[in-house]
C-alpha cells in the first residue's frame, strides 16, 4: 500500500490547482479489491470484522470464512470496492482490530482466485442440449437432474461464474448459490 495512493479531496484540489497530474490510481477511481484476513478462529472475531465494515460504511461484495491449517486461525476472504483512499482506510481499520493477525490486500499481487457456484435451471426438450452446451463450454458439472431441472456445479474465477450465470439467464434459472471468492497469492 503506497502512501501516495491515498488522496483526500483537499489533496486532489491542491494537485489540480498546481497543475500536477492526477494519476488514475490516485483519483477517485473505484476498484474491486480482494483482501485476505487471518483472524482468531472465533465467532466474535468474524463478527468484529464484518461489523467494522458496516459501522464505517464500507462495502462488502462477498465474504467467506473458513479454518486454516492452524485450527486456531481462520481466514476470511473479503471482496470490497473503493478508491485508493477508502481501501487504505479499510486495511488500516482491519489491522487495528485486536483479533486480526494478518491483513493482505491481494489485488495488486499475482494471485489465484476461485469461486464455486451451484446453479439450477429448468429445461425442456428444446433447451436441453443448448443448456448442456453452455455448461460444456464453461466446463461445469451436472450434479443433479430431474425431469424438469438440471443443477450445475461450476468452479473458477468469479468473472467466469458471472459469465456463466449471464448465459444461463437465457433460460429459466430456478436458483443460484455462490460461495464467494477465496483467493491466495502465487509464489
Amino acid at each position: 500500500m503506497s502512501e501516495n495512493l491515498i488522496l483526500t479531496p483537499q489533496q486532489i484540489i491542491r494537485k489540480k490547482a498546481a497543475g500536477e497530474p492526477i494519476q488514475p490510481d490516485d483519483s477517485e477511481m473505484i476498484q474491486s479489491h480482494t483482501i485476505a484476513v487471518l483472524v482468531e478462529n472465533s465467532i466474535g472475531a468474524f463478527i468484529r470484522v464484518v461489523n467494522m465494515f458496516s459501522a464505517r460504511g464500507f462495502n462488502i461484495d462477498s465474504v467467506t470464512v473458513g479454518a486454516t491449517d492452524d485450527p486456531t486461525v481462520s481466514r476470511m476472504n473479503i471482496v470490497t470496492q473503493g478508491n485508493g483512499r477508502i481501501i487504505s482506510q479499510v486495511l488500516r481499520q482491519l489491522s487495528r482490530l485486536v483479533d486480526t493477525i494478518e491483513v493482505i490486500d491481494l489485488t495488486d499481487t499475482d494471485f489465484v482466485e476461485r469461486e464455486l457456484c451451484l446453479l439450477k435451471v429448468c429445461y425442456t426438450k428444446d433447451t436441453r442440449s443448448e443448456i448442456l452446451d453452455v455448461n460444456d463450454i464453461f466446463r461445469g458439472k451436472v450434479v443433479d437432474i430431474t425431469t424438469k431441472t438440471m443443477t450445475f456445479e461450476l468452479r473458477g474465477p468469479s468473472k467466469k461464474i458471472d459469465a456463466f450465470i449471464k448465459m444461463m439467464h437465457a433460460h429459466e434459472i430456478v436458483e443460484v448459490a455462490r460461495s464467494g471468492r477465496v483467493a491466495m497469492q502465487r509464489d
Binding site: E3, I6, L7, T8, P9, Q10, Q11, I13, R14, V39, E40, G44, I47, R48, N51, M52, A55, R85, S88, Q89, R92, Q93, S95, R96, L97, V98, D99, T100, I101
Partner: protein, 599 residues
C-alpha cells in the same frame, strides 16, 4: 495461608482474610470462585478504585467483595452512566485505567453512553458487565441483553468469558488493550455461572496476543524528512490533540516548540498540552477556536499535527482548510493517518518518542515575522465579551481561573459553557482539562469531575477540581452529587444557568430564524441550591459579578463536601468566534451578526 487444591477448601470457611495475610499468599496454589478471581485480578493489576452498581448477575462479586475486603475502593454510584463517566474522569485525570462494574441487562445498557464517550475520546476504561448464566444466553432470560453485541462498534475490544479458567488472563488482556496504543474502552462480559465456578488463580505476568502487536519502530528516514520539512518552513505551526496528553508528551512538545520557536495551537482535547500563557500558544483552534489560531492555520506553510485526528469540528470544510500547508502527522493510530487530510509525512509511532527524536534533528528556525503576523491577528480580534457590569459566563470562568491561578482540574459538560471554559480558563498543565469532545455527552461533567476528584485524592494532589456545566447537562447526572458528598470530595460545581439549552439556542438564533423550539428550560429547571442541599452538598447562588466573587470565595472555604455554585446569567449570550458547521475556516463569525444571514 495456603489452600488445598484437591479438596477445594474455600477461603470463606476460615473467615475473613486479614490484609497482612493476604499479601503473603502465593496465588498459584489457590482455588477460588470466579468472583474472587476477578477481585484478585484487579488487585494484581494495581487497580485502586472501581465505580460500580450491584445487581443479580454480579451479586457474587459483591458478596466476595464484602468478605475479602479487596485492596481497592469500590464506589457505589447511583446510576451506571455516572459510573462510566466517573471512570473516564478518573482515567483522564490520572492517566490510569478507569474501572466499572455493573450488572447484566439494564446495568449494561446504562453504561453504553459512557462507553461510547470513552471510545470517541480514546479514554482507557474497562467495563465489567454481569451476564445471565451461559446456559441461558440467548433465551431472553431475565435481565439478559447482548452487551457485547450492543457495544461492538463502541469498544476497542470486548470479551465474553465462558470459562472461569480464562478469567484472570482476560482481565490482564483487557487492561493491556485499554491502555496501550490508542487507548479505549474494553468490555468484559461475565456470565453468572462463571463467577460462581471455581478455578486456581494465577495472574499472568505478560500478555500474548498475536493479533495485537505494537508498532514498528519509526524509520529514521521519516524523522529526517520531517526535520527537513521543518527546517524549510517559514510559517510552521504545531496542531496538537489529545494524543499528546494521553501519551504524556506535553513536556516533549513544549521543549520542542520552545526550542524551534514554532507556535502551537491545540484542539479541545489538546488544551493543557502546551501552557496557554506561553507567547507561542495560540490557544484553541476550530469551530470555536480563536481567530488568530484559525488564521494561522489558514496561512501556515507547515502543519505539524501531533496526536490529533483532523476532526470536522477542527477543520470545518476540508477542501479549504490549511490550503497552503504541507502536513507532518505524528500519530499512534494508523487509521487516523491521511483519513481526512493528506499527510505529506506520516509518522506512525508513539508521540513522545517521535517528538524526542525530532528534537535532536531540528534546529531553531527564525519565525519572528510569522509570530508578528499572528500577533496582528490576535490584536485584530481578541476574545471578548460584554463588560456591561452584568454576570456573564465568560466572566465567571475568569473568576474561577483567578481564584486558582489557573492551577485546577477543570471538567466541563457540553454546550456553550464548555466552549467558554476552553476559551477563557487558560490551561497550563496536561490533564487539567477534561471534557466530552468526541461524543459531546451532556451529563458527562458532574460524574467525571467526581472521578477526577477521586483520582486527585489517590495521587495526593491538592489541585482543586472544578466542574463547569450548563443547567441542561448538569441535571442529567446530578444524582452523583450525593456520592461525592458521601466521600467528602471537595468538588466545586459551577452551574452556568442561562435557563436554556444554550448551545442549541445559539444555533436556533443563528441558523433557524430564532425559532426557539423546546430549548427553554425555565419551567423545568430545578432549584439548584435546593438540589445541592438535597444531595448533602452546599448550594450557593449568584446573580451579579460581585455575588459571584463572594460565593466563589465562600466555596473555596468549604473542603469537606461538594459545593454547587449556581451562576444565573443572561440567556442571549453566544459563543464567538464561530465557524458554522461545514463552512470554511476562513469564514469565521466573530461577533453577533444579523440573525438569519446564515439561513
Amino acid at each position: 495461608m495456603t489452600y488445598d487444591t484437591h479438596t477445594k477448601v474455600h477461603p470463606a470457611a476460615s473467615g475473613d482474610a486479614l490484609p497482612e495475610e493476604r499479601t503473603e499468599i502465593t496465588p498459584s496454589t489457590q482455588i477460588m470462585s470466579g468472583a474472587e478471581i476477578l477481585l484478585r485480578s484487579l488487585e494484581a493489576e494495581g487497580v485502586k478504585i472501581i465505580f460500580g452498581h450491584p445487581g443479580g448477575a454480579v451479586i457474587k462479586v459483591y458478596d466476595e467483595m464484602h468478605r475479602i475486603k479487596p485492596e481497592f475502593q469500590h464506589i457505589l454510584v447511583r446510576h451506571e452512566q455516572g459510573g462510566t463517566h466517573a471512570a473516564e474522569g478518573y482515567a483522564k485525570a490520572t492517566g490510569k485505567v478507569g474501572t466499572v462494574l455493573v450488572t447484566s441487562g439494564p446495568g449494561a445498557t446504562n453504561t453504553v453512553t459512557g462507553i461510547a464517550d470513552a471510545y470517541m475520546d480514546s479514554v482507557p476504561i474497562v467495563v465489567f458487565t454481569g451476564q445471565v448464566p451461559t446456559a441461558l444466553i440467548g433465551n431472553d432470560a431475565f435481565q439478559e441483553c447482548d452487551a457485547i453485541g450492543i457495544t461492538r462498534s463502541i469498544t476497542k475490544h470486548s470479551y465474553l468469558v465462558r470459562d472461569v479458567n480464562d478469567l484472570a488472563r482476560t482481565v490482564k488482556e483487557a487492561y493491556h488493550i485499554a491502555q496501550t496504543g490508542r487507548p479505549g474502552p474494553v468490555l468484559v462480559d461475565l456470565p453468572k455461572d462463571v463467577l460462581l465456578a471455581e478455578a486456581p488463580f494465577q495472574y499472568p505476568k505478560t500478555v500474548n496476543m498475536r493479533g495485537y502487536t505494537m508498532l514498528d519502530p519509526v524509520l529514521p528516514e521519516k524523522l529526517h524528512r520531517a526535520a527537513q520539512m521543518i527546517g524549510e518552513s517559514k510559517r510552521p505551526l504545531f496542531y496538537v490533540g489529545g494524543g499528546a496528553i494521553s501519551r504524556n508528551a506535553s513536556q516533549h512538545l513544549t521543549d520542542l516548540a520552545r526550542y524551534t520557536r514554532i507556535p502551537v495551537t491545540t484542539t479541545l482535547h489538546g488544551l493543557g498540552a502546551f501552557p496557554e500563557d506561553d507567547d507561542l500558544s495560540l490557544r484553541m483552534l476550530g469551530m470555536h477556536g480563536t481567530w488568530w489560531a484559525n488564521q494561522a492555520v489558514q496561512h501556515c506553510d507547515l502543519l505539524i499535527a501531533v496526536g490529533a485526528r483532523f476532526d470536522d469540528r477542527v477543520t470545518g470544510k476540508l477542501d479549504s482548510w490549511a490550503p497552503h500547508a504541507k502536513v507532518i502527522h505524528i500519530e499512534i493510530d494508523q487509521s487516523c493517518i491521511s483519513k481526512n487530510i493528506f499527510a505529506d509525512c506520516a509518522i506512525l509511532g508513539d508521540v513522545q518518542d517521535v517528538l524526542e527524536s525530532l528534537k535532536s534533528l531540528v534546529q531553531p528556525i527564525d519565525t519572528t515575522e510569522w509570530l508578528e503576523e499572528i500577533e496582528a491577528w490576535r490584536q485584530e480580534c481578541p476574545l471578548q465579551y460584554s463588560n456591561d457590569g452584568k454576570l456573564h459566563a465568560q466572566g465567571v470562568i475568569e473568576q474561577l481561573r483567578d481564584q486558582t491561578d489557573g492551577d485546577a482540574v477543570v471538567i466541563t459538560d457540553v454546550g456553550q459553557h464548555q466552549m467558554w471554559s476552553a476559551q477563557y480558563f487558560r490551561f497550563l498543565h496536561p490533564r487539567t482539562h477534561i471534557t466530552s469532545g468526541g461524543l459531546g455527552t451532556m451529563g458527562f461533567g458532574m460524574p467525571a469531575a467526581m472521578g477526577a476528584a477521586f483520582g486527585m485524592r489517590e495521587i495526593g494532589s491538592s489541585r482543586p477540581v472544578i466542574c463547569i456545566s450548563g443547567d441542561g447537562g448538569f441535571v442529567m447526572n446530578a444524582q452523583e452529587m450525593s456520592v461525592a458528598a458521601a466521600h467528602k470530595l471537595p468538588l466545586k460545581l459551577a452551574v452556568i444557568n442561562n435557563r436554556f439549552l444554550g448551545m442549541v439556542r445559539q444555533w436556533q438564533e443563528l441558523f433557524h430564524r430564532e425559532r426557539y423550539s423546546h430549548t427553554d428550560l425555565s419551567d423545568t429547571n430545578p432549584d439548584f441550591v435546593k438540589l445541592a442541599e438535597a444531595h448533602h452538598c452546599v448550594g450557593l447562588r449568584a446573580t451579579t459579578p460581585e455575588e459571584a466573587q463572594s460565593i466563589i470565595e465562600e466555596a473555596w472555604k468549604i473542603n469537606d463536601r461538594p459545593v454547587l455554585m449556581e451562576f444565573q446569567v443572561a440567556k442571549e449570550e453566544m459563543v464567538f468566534p464561530m465557524v458554522p458547521a461545514g463552512a470554511a475556516t476562513g469564514d469565521m463569525i466573530t461577533d453577533r451578526i444579523t440573525p438569519n444571514s446564515f439561513v
